[in-house]
Amino acid sequence: MEITKDNIEKKLRDEFEPVYLNVDDVSSGCGLKFDTTIVSKKFEGKQLLARQRLVNDLLKDEMTKIHAFTQKTYTPDEWEKKQQKTITNPECETKTMNACTGDCKK
């Protein structure tokens, strides 16, 4: 099956029943690249590594062909708190591909 944003979205949606899901296709000359944000109750009680392993296992076939893949995984509570934080400190919104260098001054 061709690896597309829609196919990845469907797989993630079917598996995690997310309250929020975003998949961006940011593919470039280097190859297939996807940024994902997944908010799901299924992440509750799981550390970040365990959550990402769940996603990796689900997409293990796609991963052999994808060049780059980022994933942000939240529980619904964490997501709600993050939304609140973003509203009060919009400068903290980190662009997906850019690591925060800790330069924000507050």
Partner: protein
Amino acid sequence: MNSSLFRRVIQQYSSIRALNNISARFTSSSSSSSSAESKTPAESSSIDPQFKKKIDDFIKSNKVAVFIKGEPDAPSCGFSKAVLQILNLHGCDFKSQNILDDQRLRDTMKLYSNWPTFPQIYFDGEFVGGCDILLHMHQSGELVNELKKIGIQSKLSDVNNNTTPSSAN
């Protein structure tokens, strides 16, 4: 494919040994090793014990060990660069291996860590994750605590006490 039909066909034309090898590929249940089995025979799900020992020794003898694309002063990928930036911000010593220089290492680390991408980060012999996880730990302040647990004082530990991340000095 019907696995029993496949077996009968192969039985007529192959040795029993070949049959066992091929049927194992088509009848094994889906598992984390299935994507590795579908590749060339060289990329099997088992790791050469001597090579594994070299990896074991590397990650256990360095408190912070990272497998990256490129070199610490010249990373070849944005994610590896981000990891290096974060570790440098914290003033954290580390040892790295360039997986672009060694295809065998690159393939093996995916199996060793059960992780499909790079960079890969180890703290005190334990797999931490990739760039996403390290970035999250840095932004949340967790990284200072995790480094402290393995005996590394982060340059940002005073900043962390103020709960506001900022650049060092």
